[in-house]
């Protein structure tokens, strides 16, 4: 019978243990791929070449499939996030109540498109399909903090705090 040795983690970073634990919980089977990638992203912030290769070999799936999964789902990112993140909700309720104005404001102020990070690495600008906070439309998430009924003015002020100071 063919035996399979699980590869050693790429380096001695302790966070690989979390990833190993997730993969073990799913019996080192390919069905644990998405869960393993979730753990990597939670621990490291994003999925890089190294982690994709490690997870793929550990779970014995082709690298193409790991890459396919990582790029198929919007939640996974292959680039490190900026110091701060600003997520604009573009759900229907937010759209009706003025999210396009917020998108416009942030693109003008930061000069980046959704999914990008400012060149100085300070702010990542993302959009969400719907946060489910439709009662608070339009909603924005500043560093995990949901803010409701945001005006373009309030958004600009919040962003300038991030870009002005080294906060």
């Amino acid at each position: 019978m063919l035996t399979f040795a699980k590869p050693a983690p790429p380096n001695d970073d302790k966070r690989w243990r979390l990833v190993d634990a997730t993969m073990r919980r799913h019996g080192q089977q390919s069905r644990g791929l998405i869960e393993a990638l979730h753990t990597v992203q939670e621990a490291f912030g994003y999925l890089d070449d190294l982690s994709l290769r490690y997870v793929a070999t550990s779970l014995r799936v082709p690298l193409s499939r790991a890459y396919g999964v990582a790029t198929f789902y919007h939640f996974f990112t292959l680039k490190p996030a900026g110091k701060h993140t600003c997520v604009i909700c573009t759900g229907t309720a937010c759209y009706i109540k003025g999210a396009p104005l917020l998108l416009d404001a942030i693109q003008k102020d930061l000069g980046v498109l959704p999914g990008e990070t400012t060149p100085d690495g300070k702010v990542s600008f993302l959009t969400a399909r719907c946060l489910g906070s439709c009662g608070l439309a339009p909603a924005v998430v500043y560093d995990q903090q949901v803010a409701g009924k945001v005006s373009a003015q309030a958004l600009r002020e919040h962003l300038s705090q991030w870009t002005r100071h080294d906060a």
């Binding site: 799913h26 089977q29 390919s30 069905r31 644990g32 791929l33 998405i34 869960e35 990638l37 979730h38 499939r65 396919g68 999964v69 198929f72 789902y73 919007h74 939640f75 996974f76 573009t90 759900g91 229907t92 309720a93 759209y95 009706i96 109540k97 003025g98 999210a99 396009p100 104005l101 998108l103 416009d104 969400a128 399909r129 719907c130 946060l131 489910g132 906070s133 439709c134 009662g135 608070l136 439309a137 909603a139 903090q145 949901v146 803010a147 409701g148 005006s151």
Partner: protein, 551 residues
């Protein structure tokens, strides 16, 4: 756990709650939490401790109270029958609320509850929302929780459970409205070495947050529904596929599963019977198409979420090729009351073909936004103008959008139609999962159609050509209309695409993607016409400036 032990827990919990003469409920669901309701709860806790009221007064974190736009919501007097609801409460208001607990209410924060928004609701799924503490299993058990499970396990055969669900007339709350009892009996009859039960909590429709609220406010109800389903169809493994975008719901579900396992309500030999069942969470990763059942199964298996052709349906061949029952969160949340009170009791509510209640997430340009549960058959006008309180800022109603990107926009003329599966389908929309978005005259319907097409285009998984290419082409034409460069030929082409996508796409995403366009073409043809012929946007939205309404 035995039935007696369960009753004992319920009794002990009720006893221990009796020592409180006053209770202050604070909404700790995501909507209010993002308005700092946790700080309000903390302030109440420390103020109660400072006053030495700890023995008779309790501040309790509860689930969603419904009126999300006015959060944080706090209610007092639940125990004394002197109900008061307070809105937009800040931490600094804690002392004032406690001061007035026996006296006159704090009028500046008072939120009237004798309005249609509260009075017109009928709560079955949400009966515990805003009442019990979602993080404590004891509180759920005290509110008759898990009684239906014990009843099913000890007094009913699996077949009788399915019969009750059939008699209730419950239909899938995910949107398509397939009879739940029929689905259960198909899975029960299917042969497989193993069967699975999956709860679809991948609430992808933009503008819908019913499932999130149910999971955050009453997670045990969903577990109980899944357990009963598993018993009925003969399954031993369950999964909840929940969006990674709902961290609070995930946290509460994890806690609920742990508590249920510790209480012996999940795991091996539940209640001393031969029935065993375990539930595992699977996090979605932001793909709308994973709401489609075959795509969801692929995702649970760790693959890209692409759908496959049906049949075979998951009820016959699903997860790992085994019979799999997939139901939506709200469907499972209806099960416990149906078993407890009987299918016939449930069938009394609603219309002839659509039984029971439906939870809607009311949002958009409407006075009262939030979560409401209403009996099927209520009219759209009642939803928008009575429960919703009408359109703010003196603007005029234009349309109500149901069913998210797969649904349609319904105009003023059909507002007196009832809300049920058949009526909405006849009008060119769908019930959908329960998002209901009100649109007023400041929005352009072509722009709204373009918004939904943009959504479907981005979310198309790319597996089948009609959807992948068709949504792109339809979006291109809609863009040219909003940029005033379209010709009448483009419009004819758009209509042709609607037909093509509907009939040739592989899964529901592509088949229903044209719905917003078809319904706006039908009811708001004049708007399309003025964009194309007169190069003007009646709502003043389209043109050079970015799409969307002005605030």
């Amino acid at each position: 756990m035995t039935p007696d032990e369960l009753l004992e827990i319920a009794e002990t919990e009720r006893e221990s709650q009796k020592r409180f003469t006053h209770r202050v409920n604070v909404c700790l669901a995501a909507g209010c939490v993002s308005c700092q309701s946790q700080a309000v709860k903390d302030a109440l806790d420390s103020d109660i401790a400072r006053r030495g009221w700890g023995d008779h007064c309790q501040a309790k974190g509860v689930g969603c109270m419904g009126l999300c736009s006015e959060g944080p919501l706090v209610s007092t007097g639940v125990l004394t029958g002197n109900d008061r609801l307070y809105k937009r409460v800040a931490a600094a208001d804690a002392a004032e609320i406690l001061d007035s607990i026996d006296g006159a209410p704090v009028s500046r924060l008072r939120c009237p509850t004798d309005v249609p928004f509260f009075q017109r609701q009928k709560k079955i799924v949400l009966e515990n929302s805003g009442v019990i503490d979602p993080e404590r299993i004891e509180d759920y058990i005290a509110a008759e929780g898990y009684q239906a499970l014990i009843q099913a396990l000890t007094e009913m055969t699996p077949r009788e459970v399915v019969e009750q669900v059939m008699a209730s007339g419950l239909r899938g709350r995910g949107g398509a409205g397939y009879p739940t009892g029929l689905k259960w009996s198909t899975v029960a009859k299917s042969f497989g070495v193993q069967k699975f039960v999956i709860c679809n909590a991948d609430e992808g429709d933009p503008g819908a947050f019913m499932d999130r609220s149910v999971l955050e406010s009453d997670p045990h109800r969903v577990l109980e529904g899944m357990l009963i389903a598993a018993y009925a169809v003969g399954s031993s493994d369950g999964y909840i596929y929940v969006r990674a975008e709902y961290p609070l719901a995930i946290k509460r579900l994890r806690a609920a599963i742990r508590q249920a396992e510790r209480a012996g309500l999940l795991g091996a030999n539940i209640c001393g019977t031969r029935f065993s069942f375990k539930i595992d969470l699977r996090l979605g990763a932001g793909a709308f198409v994973c709401g489609e059942e075959t795509a969801l199964i692929a995702s649970v298996e760790g693959k890209r979420g692409t759908p496959r052709a049906r049949p075979p349906y998951p009820a016959m061949e699903g997860l790992q090729g085994q019979p799999t029952l997939i139901n939506n969160v709200e469907t499972f949340a209806n099960i416990a009351p149906i078993i407890r009170k009987g299918g016939e009791w449930y069938a009394q509510v609603g219309t002839e073909k659509s039984k029971g209640t439906k939870v809607f997430a009311l949002a958009g340009r409407v006075q009262n936004t939030g979560l409401v549960e209403v009996p099927m058959g209520i009219t759209l006008r009642e939803m928008v103008f009575e429960i919703g309180g009408g359109i703010p800022d003196g603007r005029k109603f234009k349309a109500v959008q149901t069913g998210g990107p797969s649904g349609g926009c319904l105009p003023e003329e059909v507002l007196d139609q009832p809300v049920d599966y058949e009526s909405l389908a006849r009008l060119g929309s769908i019930m959908g999962s329960g998002g209901m978005i009100v649109i007023d005259e400041s929005s352009c319907m072509v722009d709204v159609a373009k918004y939904f097409m943009d959504f479907c285009m981005t979310e198309s998984c790319g597996k089948c050509t009609p959807c992948r290419v068709g949504t792109y082409q339809m979006h291109r034409i809609l863009s040219s209309i909003t940029e005033m460069t379209a010709t009448p030929q483009d419009l004819a082409m758009l209509e042709e695409f609607c037909d093509l996508l509907k009939h040739t796409s592989l899964c529901g995403l592509g088949q229903s993607a044209p719905n917003p366009v078809v319904s706006t073409l039908k009811s708001f043809a004049a708007e399309y016409k003025s964009h194309i012929e007169d190069h003007t946007c009646p709502a003043g939205v389209c043109g050079k400036q970015p799409g969307g309404a002005r605030t």
